[in-house]
């Protein structure tokens, strides 16, 4: 019953799409003729691709296999011709740093943007036993934290970003990805462009562990580390969705217009409106980092799908028809679910760029995307890249998010509770971000504790939170300790002596 209903609705949808979104491919790519296609690559984009794969399977009967094995492995697979497409955050490396052979695919290829997202900084920090949910950081401070130049939360530079918080004297534990990842690549690319003086390692998908830092594997690993009890004082870079799902806050990052911005879907999409595309189709994010829009989140980026423009390897023209239909779906309908998946929808300029590349896929038809019927949430029919729905409707940042002496107390990401003002600055309320999850983290205790777990009366000011490492040796041996030892000795004597004596007595009695 249910199944029939679903089948019927799927068929209806397929028809609707065949008429609406995919008029160009209606000929060769009818639902029945889809051939399974396979891709590998970025783990960063996997969540989105999993959802899209399901959607096209349910609605159009398309089979798409995607395996998140890592961007470089994806590029290698593409060169070897063992996959139909690959997904990567960085383009083919024409001159790899280690001097190995340049990555040159034997067949034609093109880069197509598929999904955007911001690099979020999830942290676990408490002031007087209360979770901080409104931390703000400037780009330079972030770079210094992840290079080991700033090691304490009460560093003046961190304090300056957070006038409303009395930063504790606690060590910062930067947690980085131990495996190669697109998140690392995006983060290091941003640092190498923005702060080349502090970050000298260039773009690295393998993040070098900073001194005093921890390296953990996978997004789950880094997010898991930060969210544990022992993760207090830790900060990591991770997809926004992990912070959202695990009930932890993310740092607001200072943009070029002097606002601290949370990496919501909208703020990333707004930033990417300024994305440029180089002549070789690779991304140019310089304008994104210094976007003129005060709503823009600076660490915004997108990942590419590497699509073949020639038949070869296991790729055929029939597969091209499937790939074409799939990519059209991704750029339009698929972007609807991006925010729910923790990404951000691609803005119009990038969809246009992608549309041009779809036309080059053999067998995909000569038309790209029909912008009048594309169901992308960032624009509607008749919009242009310079004036579209996103640009006009994305919410403006609150005044308390501006650089200055005020700091919004509203929570971020998964942690929705407010953080009371504890510093010298003033508080303020931001409009609650629309996509912050309902899953609140902890609600904060009634009693306030200092770092060693001793209850204190509250009223902490600026630098009064003093760190006192837990030590055992300094107790020394006073009279009390000697008494304890004596008591212990007596106790054991009372236990041990009777059996020993009885035995002795028995043996002597035998003799």
């Amino acid at each position: 019953m249910n199944r029939t209903a679903r089948a019927i609705s799927a068929a209806l949808l397929a028809v609707a799409v065949g008429v609406g979104v995919l008029p160009a491919s209606a000929g060769p790519a009818s639902a029945a003729s889809y051939i399974p296609i396979t891709g590998t690559g970025s783990t960063w984009s996997q969540n989105a691709l999993d959802q899209w794969r399901k959607n096209v399977a349910a609605n159009y009967g398309m089979t798409v296999n995607y395996s998140g094995v890592g961007s470089s492995a994806g590029r290698r697979d593409f060169i070897a011709g063992t996959v139909d497409f690959a997904v990567s955050e960085i383009p083919f490396q024409s001159s790899p740093e280690d001097g190995s052979a340049p990555e040159i695919p034997p067949r034609g290829y093109a880069y197509m943007p598929i999904v955007a997202g911001g690099t979020a900084f999830m942290y676990n920090l408490k002031i007087s036993g209360k979770r901080v949910t409104n931390l703000r950081l400037s780009g330079e401070v972030i770079t210094k934290i992840f290079t080991g130049a700033i090691t304490k939360w009460n560093d003046p530079a961190v304090q300056k970003d957070n006038p409303g918080l009395a930063m504790p004297d606690k060590t910062i534990t930067p947690v980085v990805r131990s495996d190669g990842s697109g998140t690392s690549a995006q983060f290091t690319l941003w640092m190498s462009k923005q702060f080349p003086g502090i970050w000298k390692a260039g773009l690295r998908s393998q993040f070098p562990t900073p001194p005093g830092g921890k390296a953990q594997n996978g997004s789950l690993g880094v997010a898991g580390y930060v969210s544990q009890d022992y993760g207090e004082g830790a900060i990591t870079y991770v997809e926004y969705s992990y912070a959202l799902k695990s009930g932890f806050p993310v740092a607001k990052v200072l943009n070029a217009q002097g606002y601290y911005i949370e990496p919501t879907a909208n703020s990333v999409a707004v930033a990417l409106l300024s994305a440029g595309i180089n002549s070789d189709l690779t991304q140019n994010l310089d304008n994104v980092y210094s976007s003129g829009d005060k709503r823009a989140y600076p660490l915004s980026s997108y990942s590419y799908m590497i699509i073949p423009t020639e038949v070869g390897g296991i790729f055929t023209e029939e597969k091209g028809a499937t790939l074409g239909a799939f990519t059209r779906y991704m750029l339009c309908e698929g972007q609807q679910q991006a925010p729910a998946l923790g990404y951000s929808p691609l803005p119009m300029n990038l969809v246009q760029a992608g549309s041009d590349q779809i036309k080059r896929i053999p067998g995909a038809g000569s038309q790209g995307i029909d912008f009048t019927s594309c169901n992308n949430p960032t624009f509607k029919a008749g919009d242009s890249p310079s004036s579209n729905r996103l640009a006009s409707s994305a919410p403006q940042p609150a005044d308390c998010d501006k650089v200055g002496t005020s700091q919004c107390t509203t929570g971020t990401a998964g942690a929705t509770q407010e953080t009371p003002v504890s510093g010298t600055g003033t508080g303020g309320k931001a409009n609650t971000s629309p996509d912050a999850g309902a899953s609140g983290g902890d609600t904060g205790g009634e009693v306030q504790y200092d770092e060693n777990g001793t209850p204190i009366g509250g009223g902490v000011t600026g630098a009064s939170a003093v760190s006192k490492p837990f030590t055992v040796e300094d107790q020394g041996m006073g009279p009390t300790q000697w008494l304890m030892v004596a008591a212990g000795g007596l106790f054991f004597a009372a236990v041990l002596l009777p059996p020993f004596l009885s035995r002795r007595m028995r043996e002597s009695a035998k003799k």
């Binding site: 396979t38 899209w52 399901k54 395996s67 998140g68 063992t82 390897g313 212990g488 106790f491 059996p499």
Partner: protein
């Protein structure tokens, strides 16, 4: 081993003093208590319970009042140590050093077992608890993930494709490993020679082959050079490369344990090598060989790293191991738990639980088929053996008839032919 109950030697006090030569101890007077090897006496139980109570009390006392100690783990450790101490003391009240060693050793063995099973059961329960949300939906077993994405609830999608993939891959791997592995182990033990020593060295070395290297090897040698795509068959090959040395080595150990006099008896009866191997060595070692295969399977079925590079990831049910990706359960777990979505993580743990269940069923079957140790026959097997020996006797009698002219009637009750040849006693 039979339930051995032995009489203790008579107490030395009852032996005549001064008699220096060996005599048959007379049973006059006091005879010691019957020694019980396998059941604890009331007294022993009392000792145990008493020591446990005292241990708990002591550590609670220490933690609560006397010493500045804290923490649950510390409390458990101190309790246990105190328990051991008290137990030694209590045993020392009545027994000699031998007895103390015996009792303490028994307690230690039981504790080792308890810790191990406790920890392992806890790991499994942890997986089951985290996966229980996914586990209780029937669709989890009957659907693939083709029509379910990260945002879909647990009532949609399942891991049928991974179950099928695992079964196909492990079947292919076993189809190669069992004959090849056991034949090689037999070669090492029964044929021998310089080459066999070389083979053994190589196999020994390979048992420690990192499983990820097995995957890398298949990836570069098979996928990149031959098939040009990830497939279930490639994954099965990677599992085979990893399992083969484990099976050979474990089988080798068991075959070496087959008593030499059984082999000699067989040869002495005129059997050839092949007959000896097939009729004596393999049946004797059967239970051990099953264990060897099970160990290999256990490793092959639960290891993620060899399939990480070779099988590819898919959400679609596939029955063809030679074309297209085919996911297996451990890789599916790995894939699920990387997702930020709580539903996917729950599915991951659910998948791990299913993997455990699957392994349980497979092992149950394996134990039923081959687990009975040699010499222990089921009633029906016993009956069959008796029939066979009767037939043999008949035939021998018939064959003997022409030679000895004045033959007795062949239908006379036959002389018993020993059949439980593997009984080590």
């Amino acid at each position: 081993m039979s339930d051995t109950l032995l009489e203790a030697p008579p107490a030395p006090a009852s032996a005549p003093r001064g008699a220096r030569r060996t005599t048959v101890p007379d049973r006059v007077g006091e005879t010691g208590e019957r020694r019980r090897l396998h059941r604890a006496t009331f007294e022993e139980r009392f000792d145990l319970i008493g020591a446990a109570a005292a241990g708990l009390a002591t550590s609670t006392l220490l933690f609560g009042w006397i010493a500045p100690l804290t923490g649950v783990v510390g409390w458990i450790v101190v309790s246990y140590l105190a328990f051991l101490g008290y137990y030694v003391l209590l045993t020392a009240l009545v027994g000699d050093r031998q007895r103390i060693a015996d009792r303490v050793a028994t307690v230690l063995l039981v504790s080792a077992g308890a810790i191990l099973f406790g920890a392992l059961v806890f790991v499994v329960v942890f997986a089951l608890l985290r996966g229980r949300d996914a586990f209780w939906h029937l669709n989890f077993f009957t659907q693939s993930m083709e029509l379910a994405g990260p945002l879909d609830p647990l009532t949609e999608g399942g891991i049928l494709h991974a179950i099928v993939g695992t079964l196909i891959q492990i079947t292919i791997a076993l189809a190669i490993t069992i004959p090849l592995g056991i034949a090689t182990a037999v070669f090492l033990n029964e044929v021998g020679g310089r080459f066999a020593r070389f083979v053994r060295t190589i196999v020994d070395a390979m048992t420690a082959l990192p499983s990820i290297v097995a995957g890398l090897f298949i990836y570069a040698a098979v996928i990149q050079l031959v098939t040009h795509q990830r497939s279930g068959f490639a994954a099965a090959l990677a599992i085979t490369v990893m399992m083969l040395p484990i099976v050979i080595r474990a089988a080798d150990v068991v075959l070496r344990l087959v008593p030499g006099n059984l082999r000699e008896a067989s040869y002495a009866l005129g059997a050839g090598r092949w007959r000896t191997v097939w009729g004596v060595v393999l049946p004797t070692a059967r239970s051990g060989l099953v264990t060897a295969v099970i160990l290999g399977t256990a490793r092959g079925i639960g290891e993620t790293s060899p399939v990480l590079l070779t099988s590819g990831v898919t959400a679609v049910l596939s029955f063809n191991p030679f074309s297209g990706p085919m996911i297996s359960l451990p890789l599916q777990v790995f894939d699920f738990v990387r997702s930020p979505e709580p539903t996917m993580i729950a599915r991951g743990f659910g998948t791990a639980a299913v993997l455990l269940m699957l392994v349980l069923v497979l092992f149950g079957i394996a134990r039923v088929i081959g687990g009975r140790p040699p010499g222990q026959l089921s009633p029906r097997q016993q009956q069959r053996a008796q029939e066979a020996s009767r037939r043999d006797a008949d035939r021998m009698a018939r064959r003997a008839a022409p030679v000895t002219a004045s033959s007795t009637a062949p239908s006379e009750s036959p002389a018993p032919v020993p059949h439980e040849k593997a009984d080590p006693s």
